[in-house]
């Protein structure tokens, strides 16, 4: 699944100090549940993103343990505190060991 996975993140580029901002993320992934069968009746093995971790200046915003019940092309929306200018780091962990990353800068003015 490592090919074609492309994250999208939406973070405001500016905020006032201490403001809470809304973050939206979307990533393309089949999220194969392990429940489906192929045309020959064999179970298609599970292959999902099992963890999504977001930090701001190296401190955790949200850390999600994901199960096969999360829909294809996982979407998350959540809120973060922004006490100062800095960087959001987004990391998705795949069952197959792949790691997908994205980051976004925000300026407090």
């Amino acid at each position: 699944m490592a090919s074609g996975v492309r994250p999208r993140v939406k973070v405001p580029s500016t905020a006032s100090a201490g403001e809470t901002v809304t973050i939206k993320t979307l990533i393309s992934h089949q999220m194969e549940s392990g429940q489906r069968k192929d045309s020959e009746g064999n179970t298609i093995p599970r292959s999902i993103i099992n963890r999504f971790h977001v930090t701001f200046n190296d401190e955790t915003v949200i850390d999600v343990k994901m199960e096969p019940a999360i829909s294809t092309n996982p979407y998350f929306e959540f809120e973060a505190k922004v006490p100062e200018s800095g960087t959001f780091q987004f990391t998705w962990y795949d069952d197959d060991g792949s790691v997908y990353e994205d980051s976004a800068e925000i300026t407090v003015g």
């Binding site: 074609g4 492309r6 999208r8 939406k10 939206k24 979307l26 990533i27 294809t72 092309n73 979407y75």
Partner: protein, 283 residues
């Protein structure tokens, strides 16, 4: 027992009103910016069909599904538009060229989806966006054509459609396109399959009613390609046609076949005046 029967009958009578599958009155604005025309006066050629207002399929969906289309960061179809941007900028084929080498930014495609399918004078045929893309791939890039409605093709069609969002659908049905349009109209009104259903049986005569647990829309394709919750990917109009024809228990036409090209032109013309919405989000 008599009372029970009466109650059951009353429930049956009330049900259609309480759960009517008709279009709602919500307003579609994308990203708080792009205002969409989702209801419009029916185009002239639809006189006599009993439809005086054409309605986007968006109005027939639940609020939660509608919401997903209203923000590009919630619209899962947009991930595939992103993938197509990569493809747009990647050189392929013997000529070593990318889409960008001739067409610059994808923004140069604004207006294309609004007027396709369209008569191509040199080729002497009506062409869909995917046919035109493949023409570029084969003749200008020296690359392999994409199979119809396959992922790279439908993703590219979505990227091109997204450049026309908010523009009114305005396909030409006269002049050299008239013959193809008439062929599409014939298909629209032909009953297919063991169930003997025409497109019109559901989408003209019964839109707003339920088919099993689902709403019947007018079958407009102004929102194609569409991200369906059902299969979590972008779907082309021809694939949707195929699904419908299959559901009538008929042998279907193939995606990219002349029959479906004609049907695409005809069905699209029934949405002349509605905004291009692709990639939309549907059930």
């Amino acid at each position: 027992m008599k009372l029970k029967a009466l109650t059951a009958m009353a429930a049956l009578l009330v049900a259609p009103a309480a759960f009517a599958g008709g279009a709602d009155d919500d307003t579609l604005v994308i990203n708080g910016e792009i205002e969409m025309t989702t209801k419009a006066d029916a185009p002239e050629h639809m006189e006599g069909t009993g439809i005086d207002q054409v309605i986007s399929g968006w109005h027939f969906r639940a609020d939660e599904t509608q919401q997903i289309q209203m923000d590009d960061f919630e619209n899962q179809g947009m991930i595939f538009v992103d993938q197509a941007i990569n493809t747009w900028n990647t050189a392929e084929g013997s000529a070593g060229q990318s889409c960008a080498d001739c067409h610059n930014d994808p923004e140069s495609m604004a207006g294309v989806t609004a007027t396709y399918p369209k008569w191509n004078e040199d080729a002497g045929e009506v062409r869909t966006v995917q046919m035109q893309v493949n023409d570029c791939r084969v003749n200008r890039m020296g690359a392999e054509p994409w199979p119809y409605d396959a992922a790279p093709a439908i993703n590219m069609e979505a990227l091109i459609a997204s450049q026309s969002r908010g523009m009114p659908v305005d396909v030409a049905i006269d002049g050299p396109a008239a013959e193809t349009w008439e062929q599409g109209k014939d298909i629209y009104y032909t009953r297919y399959g063991q169930l003997e259903l025409a497109c019109a049986s559901c989408h003209e005569e019964n839109y707003g009613n339920y088919i099993r647990a689902d709403h019947l829309s007018q079958g407009q394709i102004n929102g194609f390609p569409t991200y369906r919750l059902k299969n979590a990917k972008l779907n082309g109009a021809h694939s949707r046609f195929k699904g419908c024809v299959r559901d009538t228990r008929a042998e279907t036409f193939a995606t990219g076949s002349p029959e479906f090209v004609a049907l695409e032109l005809y069905v699209k013309s029934r949405g002349n005046g509605l905004s291009v919405e692709g990639p939309s989000v549907r059930n």
